[in-house]
């Protein structure tokens, strides 16, 4: 029997629903997540099923409701907060960084802060500079947080379920352009473990590490490269923090070449972190410099052509791969 295909959006919805059925302490906070079913319709049907106390429509008060989640998490709930665009985490950084991420450590291991912040990032929809950022790196930099970016419906569902059950604050970053994408998701329950990368395509000539929507770009690039006889291995870390460096190193030691693709800005982005770490730990295996494909160091522009130019493209990935393969 073929596995059914559902959308990324519905996969997330299922994860929420299943975990809420399973555990009465799981609650959702966010703007329009309740009656309306979520600005991106991700929480559809949950309000009707679980009621207003477990699916809470909040005022436009990102700092306040994120901080509420911290207090709720410390006292026995498992809140899942929705921050509509990851650009708006700027309003809640104190609650995330100084409270949620540090409480356990500061208190000597006495607190648990089991909360998930669901948000979405990425460009490509003409939402311009304040609604298109990819800010995952801010969180990757902070001890105490877990950072997840699923690229497929399967991973989104399995990882969100793991995130909700995890006892730490988890930043779960979806991609606005993936909601409508579909993929196989089993009917039966499963979890995807946090901190485990997935090899989305095997290959021997070059390793491509890509995250979120860029996984699909990388796979497309790999398809093109195959026509030229280049076999690319595409690794999706899925969890950015903690990073499954072993899987990446194993691949790099095989291919000798690495291209890292992420939609954050080039400077100080996730691609830099992976490059730094791999050159440190696999220097002698590298046959070429590690190339980074990332968003230009400019705010995301509105105009379609400019926006596309700013973002990584399949062609950029192909060029980067060629630059390390034909070196």
């Amino acid at each position: 029997m073929a596995v059914r295909e559902i959308s990324y959006r519905d996969a997330i919805n299922e994860a929420l629903r299943e975990e809420m059925e399973r555990d009465p302490t799981v609650c959702i906070f966010g703007e329009d997540v309740g009656r309306y079913g979520g600005p991106f319709q991700v929480t559809r049907g949950l309000y009707e099923r679980f009621g207003e106390w477990r699916v809470r429509d909040t005022p436009i008060s990102e700092e306040g409701f994120t901080g509420m989640a911290v207090g709720a998490a410390m006292t026995g709930l498992r809140p899942v907060v929705e921050i509509m665009y990851n650009d708006f985490v700027t309003l809640a950084m104190d609650q995330i960084i100084n409270q949620a991420a540090k409480a356990r450590y500061m208190f000597g291991g006495k607190a648990r802060v089991p909360m998930v912040i669901r948000t979405q990032g990425g460009a490509g929809r003409g939402n311009a500079a304040q609604h298109s950022q990819s800010l995952e790196m801010w969180f990757v930099h902070i001890p105490g947080l877990i950072v997840i970016q699923p690229s497929t419906p399967y991973d989104a569902k399995g990882l969100l379920k793991s995130a909700i059950r995890n006892d730490n604050p988890v930043i779960f970053i979806e991609h606005k352009l993936l909601y409508v994408t579909t993929g196989p998701v089993p009917e039966e329950e499963y979890l995807v473990p946090i901190g485990v990368a997935d090899i989305k395509r095997a290959g021997d000539d070059v390793t491509i590490v890509a995250t979120s929507r860029m996984v699909h770009f990388a796979l497309q690039a790999a398809g093109e490269l195959e026509k030229e006889g280049i076999q690319a291995e595409v690794i999706d870390p899925r969890t950015l923090k903690p990073l499954d460096i072993d899987t990446i190193l194993r691949s790099v030691k095989k291919t000798g070449r690495l291209v890292v693709v992420n939609e954050g800005h080039l400077t100080g982005g996730f691609t830099a972190e992976v490059a730094a770490r791999v050159q440190r730990e696999a220097f002698d295996w590298l046959d070429a410099p590690i190339m980074q494909v990332a968003t230009e160091d400019v705010p995301i522009p509105y105009n379609r052509q400019l926006e596309w130019e700013a973002m990584p493209s399949v062609a950029d990935i192909i060029n980067a791969v060629k630059s390390v393969v034909y070196r």
């Binding site: 909040t58 436009i60 003409g126 939402n127 130019e309």
Partner: protein, 321 residues
């Protein structure tokens, strides 16, 4: 009331300009020519026009995601606005900003803003700046009834009140915030009471009565220029259309919008009635203004359509001064 005939006509004209602008913006969005999301100001024209009528050219405003009306009311050029919606090189932002980031610093328009509440502190700072620079400029800070739940309002409002800054917080209570009614999200009985915690008195005004808005804001401007500090005004109005173009409006009670579109409540029809009955305008004059506004918007659309895309090289420009 110091509104002469020309001023009244200008206000009426601008209200139509906004209405037509939004109707074309909606259409262009539906044609997939406008990207991202676009928020129309239809039905709220009296707020922006009444308020900006009380300002001088060098006074400032800060706007919101629903910013077209504020920009046109303050004198913004519909052609450059429309070109921006189409992402063209001739747009206000050279195609880089789009609907949510239109600004015209020469007209004191400190920008629409994609962050709900994003203009509140900026407006307060502009008022601080006017004070330090010793000008008589005042600032109107437009924000929504949803934005009134952002904490920055407490912080900025408190500072404005402390230092008697020339800023007017003008809350547009259009009864919705995104895809929900706004009323269930503020704990005060009436939104203007929020001002009480900031050391201001909240002043309600009928936001569909352009002259009432004008007069209320005019007095606030006068106080601000006289060094008497900020005001907090809540304009009661109604968002005729969806949050964004494309919003299915499933959450809105059937028939509700229609009650706001009656000639008694529609801010334009209402003002038109006043102009005819109390200010000696002929109905034909009004109709002519409406048509002139429509033509100006058509010309703006044409201008935008005919304008070139920005060169790719501009991507890397304007990041730093």
């Amino acid at each position: 009331m110091t509104l002469d005939r020309a001023k009244l006509a200008d206000m009426y004209y601008r209200m139509w300009l906004i209405r037509h602008f939004e109707s074309r913006a909606r259409w262009l969005f539906q044609q997939d020519l406008v990207r991202g999301s676009t928020h129309t100001y239809t039905g709220e024209e009296a707020v922006a026009v009444g308020a900006c009528a009380a300002l001088n050219r060098d006074d400032y405003i800060t706007s919101t995601h629903r910013g077209h009306g504020h920009c046109l009311a303050k004198g913004g050029d519909p052609r450059r606005m429309m070109a921006e919606l189409l992402g063209k090189a001739t747009g206000y932002c050279k195609g880089k900003g789009g609907s949510m980031h239109i600004a015209d610093l020469d007209l004191g328009i400190l920008g629409a803003n994609g962050i709900v509440g994003g203009g509140i502190a900026i407006a307060t700072g502009a008022a601080y700046s006017a004070k330090v620079r010793g000008t008589r400029q005042v600032v109107i800070c437009f924000f929504g009834d949803g934005a009134a739940n952002q904490g920055v309002l407490l912080e900025a409002g408190n500072m404005a009140a402390l230092w008697k800054l020339p800023v007017i917080y003008l809350c547009e209570e259009n009864q919705y915030a995104e895809f929900s009614p706004s009323r269930p999200f503020f704990a005060v009985e009436r939104l203007e009471q929020r001002a009480l915690g900031l050391g201001m008195e909240g002043i309600p005004v009928d936001g569909n009565d352009v002259l009432a808005v004008y007069e209320t804001v005019r007095q606030a401007v006068e106080r601000a220029r006289a060094g008497q500090g900020p005001s907090f005004i809540v304009a009661k109005t109604y968002r005729w259309e969806g949050h964004t173009v494309g919003d299915p409006l499933t959450y809105r009670p059937a028939g509700e919008a229609e009650q706001w579109k009656t000639p008694e409540r529609d801010p334009i029809a209402r003002f038109g009635k006043y102009l005819v009955e109390q200010a000696g305008f002929a109905p034909a004059e009004l109709e002519e203004m409406n048509q002139r506004a429509e033509a100006e918007i058509e010309a703006a659309v044409q201008f935008a359509m005919d304008s070139p895309e920005p060169a790719i090289a501009t991507l890397w420009e304007d990041v730093y001064a």
